[in-house]
């Protein structure tokens, strides 16, 4: 193999790697609640939405969120009450309203008005971007 062939091989492989890597990352990224309008059958999805309303019941270990997408479309999404408390250190309350969250789980489409369907949340996620807006503290 000569010098030129070696560099050419590197170039071709690099292009393939960028394409495959980009595709892999695209599949793993998350979308907006409004994108669920395109989902036609139960699908594992990761979406972000703003908490527009909620209902919490510690006895049945459930918190049901109404999540709003960028275009105003809504979904209802259910999570474990106890897991919520463990993650956030406190019970769900009015303080969660208006917060943007990212949730992962199986989405069951059933369009009624601007409600797109129901989601069974397996993971509740949150980006850490806002954390860096606060001043440093020590302890």
């Amino acid at each position: 193999m000569n010098k030129r062939a070696g560099l050419l091989l590197a170039g071709v492989l690099a292009a393939i790697m960028v394409a495959v890597g980009y595709m892999a990352a695209s599949m793993g990224g998350y979308k907006d609640v409004s994108d669920l309008a395109k989902v036609k059958e139960p699908t594992l999805v990761t979406v972000k939405g703003v908490i527009a309303d909620y209902r919490a019941d510690p006895n049945s270990d459930t918190v049901v969120f109404v999540l709003q997408g960028e275009d105003g479309s809504l979904i209802t999404a259910e999570f474990s009450y106890q897991r919520f408390v463990n993650m956030h250190g406190r019970a769900p309350g009015p303080w969660i309203l208006g917060q943007e969250i990212v949730v992962k789980g199986v989405f069951y489409p059933s369009k009624q008005g601007n409600t797109l369907g129901y989601m069974d949340i397996s993971e509740m996620l949150k980006g850490c971007h806002e954390g860096y807006e606060a001043p440093p503290a020590t302890g």
Partner: protein, 376 residues
Amino acid sequence: MTSKRALPHIVAFLLLVDAALLYLVDIRGPFPAQVPLGTPTAYRNLYIHVPIAIAGYATFTVALIYALLYLVRGDARYERTAHAAIVVGIIYGAATLVTGSIWARESWGSAWNWDPRETGIFFMWVAYLIYFVLRSSIKDPDVAPRISMSYAVAAYATIPLSFVLPYIMESLHPRVTETKAFVGGGLPAVLFPIRMIIVNVAAILFIFMVRDRVTGQARRVLKAASAILLAAGLLVVTLHVASVASAGEAQLTPGASVKFVGKVAEAQLLEGNNDTAMLLLKIYTDGRAVEVRYVGEPPVKPVTFTQKKGNTTELKVSLVGHVVLVEGVVSPGGMVEARSLKVLNYWGVPANILIYGLSVALTVYLATRPGRSAGG
């Protein structure tokens, strides 16, 4: 030759300074006064995870330069250097994935969720891992170096890709511009760049030591420094376990002494300042809320901070979100009068210090083991 012999001593010195710095990070590393999820102390991983990740990028960049030099000039020394750089990069890449997942578990809510940055780093790591498979599978000694170096150049494409993904896709991972504001002032502005320099300089110098192997007295010095760094990791893990293990359940019987661990859900500064404060806290422990009053030196300083939201400015108490160890007595009304209130580190901070210590120990092992040098 002299400069070559000096490298292990320079790295040994850096590792000793780093052991002290990591201890400082564990007990005093500044964190954001308020975070969206999890305990704020998890953000001490900023001083651990980020320098390791950048060191991984740096070592793979060295690999790219030497692989290109080999492809252009054909000198075997370049191929050996590129190979050693990939060996070091793979170790730092693995440490990046593990330390990042441990941090994400607390601050994102899940250790692994195929976030674009996570996927990008994982893809990069696998791409470089394939390099070793490819290199060892080609039996022809004339062809193997050229093909594997071509592949090493190609694998570098995964580095800019993994870096830009949070900029072009929705991601839970912050961007440089966001973290820059936090590390731009106060103690973070000192601690963060110093660790960044130490970790990166050590990683790059490791490349040449893995390539040439360290022998004699320098070998002993390097191994001792690496052992001290590892010991620092074990020390912070042991201290963490000891602090948590002493706590029990919060039995709210009036007059009873209690010692429990919980998470501060709400906090109110009744009076005081950074020296002495009276705080009223709502702490969640074992799924229930306990009211706690504490008078004394605030465990987190500044005790309060202001936050702008639109046109309004809110005064917030920095203790919210922290996991704390409470020691006190239950009052007749059921409230705990705390005589001691300590902030507990997120377990992932000492764990990640230990993981970094193990990564360095593995790299030092590869740099000091007897036998032929890397790729030789």
